[in-house]
């Protein structure tokens, strides 16, 4: 079965794996992991420049935004106004319109504040941004985000950085059934099998940061995630067998001696 192209806001991407650039020991380790992951989109954050250390290395010196699509995020934003301010600045750095919206509501569980997220999606869309939205795994909210103009729905699998894997497969399946928008699992992946499960549920992609960056061998984990995403996607497209309570022998009894 030939797969359809992975398209977000009318742009085609080769890899269905999006990776984050935070939490790495160094920029070079991050760049190496990105290469192994095969990702062509990476998330980045907007922060103050360190004015007292002018020679400090910059992310853009290690990861070329001409070769890899930067997806600016709104990490650390708790209101629609914060998010809009951050993404306007991101756009100003280099014209980025495709953005990842993430408006959090609680510093401990890092769950998205969905009312502010919805409001931000509306405002940012009106301003011409193409908004990929980090959200809860709530089908009703996912629908509202879609109606507000989101270009991708990105529900969490589990809290950000928790590595707990997909906690609510049913909700993800329901969201899959109801939307034609790219559905990308964002947050909570812990290991390669989690990424495969996400793809087997019918997701279009997976966004991973901590599980790669904090692995003992980030570059190797990045490759594992790449393969898991490809594998899970192929498995989904191939049409799995129906699960059965009882066994079904693989070898025929015909001709038995």
């Amino acid at each position: 079965m030939i797969d359809k192209r992975f398209k977000i806001a009318n742009k085609i991407f080769k890899s269905r794996l999006i990776v984050g650039t935070g939490k790495y020991k160094s920029f070079s380790e991050c760049a190496k992991a990105i290469k192994s992951s095969g990702a062509d989109i990476v998330t980045v954050a907007v922060r103050r420049v360190n004015i007292s250390n002018k020679n400090k290395a910059r992310l853009m010196d290690y990861i070329d935004p001409k070769k890899i699509t930067y997806l600016p995020n709104t990490a650390g934003c708790f209101t629609a106004e914060d998010a809009i301010r951050t993404l306007r600045l991101a756009r100003e750095i280099g014209g980025w319109k495709l953005v990842k919206l993430e408006v959090l509501g609680d510093k401990r569980n890092l769950f998205p504040e969905m009312i502010e997220t919805l409001r931000s999606t509306e405002l940012l869309t009106k301003e011409g941004f193409k908004v990929m939205v980090y959200c809860n795994d709530d089908p009703l909210m996912a629908k509202r985000l879609e109606n507000a103009g989101a270009v991708a729905i990105m529900p969490l699998a589990a809290p950000i950085g928790s590595g707990l894997g997909i906690q609510n497969k049913v909700n993800i399946k329901i969201i899959r059934k109801q939307t034609k928008l790219p559905l990308i699992i964002d947050a909570g992946i812990g290991q390669a099998s989690d990424a495969s499960i996400a793809m087997e549920l019918g997701c279009d992609g997976v966004l991973i940061n901590t599980a790669i960056a904090k692995a003992k061998n980030p570059s190797q984990m990045a490759e594992a995630m790449k393969l898991a995403v490809i594998s899970g996607r192929k498995s989904y497209l191939s049409g799995r067998i129906n699960p059965n309570l009882f066994g079904s022998a693989s070898t025929t009894n015909k001709g038995i001696i």
Binding site: L59, L89, I93, L207
Partner: protein
């Protein structure tokens, strides 16, 4: 120049002293910031990077200079 003539501004939360009529461009040059990798806000308004040589800084101005860092 006498220190009394200097004016105070805030850059990324830190106080700085500059001479009067110092432009935003002079500030960016002084801080050795690569223009193609940053965005600038002056008193919460985003500044078009092509116009920074025309902007003279005033007492109490608050400037934010941001760039991309690693994030998820």
């Amino acid at each position: 120049m006498n220190i009394k003539n200097k004016i105070k501004i805030t850059v990324n939360g830190k106080q700085m002293q500059i001479i009067p009529k110092f432009t935003l461009k002079s500030l960016i040059t002084k801080l050795k910031m690569p223009l193609n990798k940053i965005a600038i806000e002056l008193n919460k308004k985003i500044i078009d990077k092509n116009r920074i040589s025309k902007i003279r800084l005033k007492k109490g101005d608050k400037i934010e200079i941001v760039h991309f860092i690693g994030g998820g």
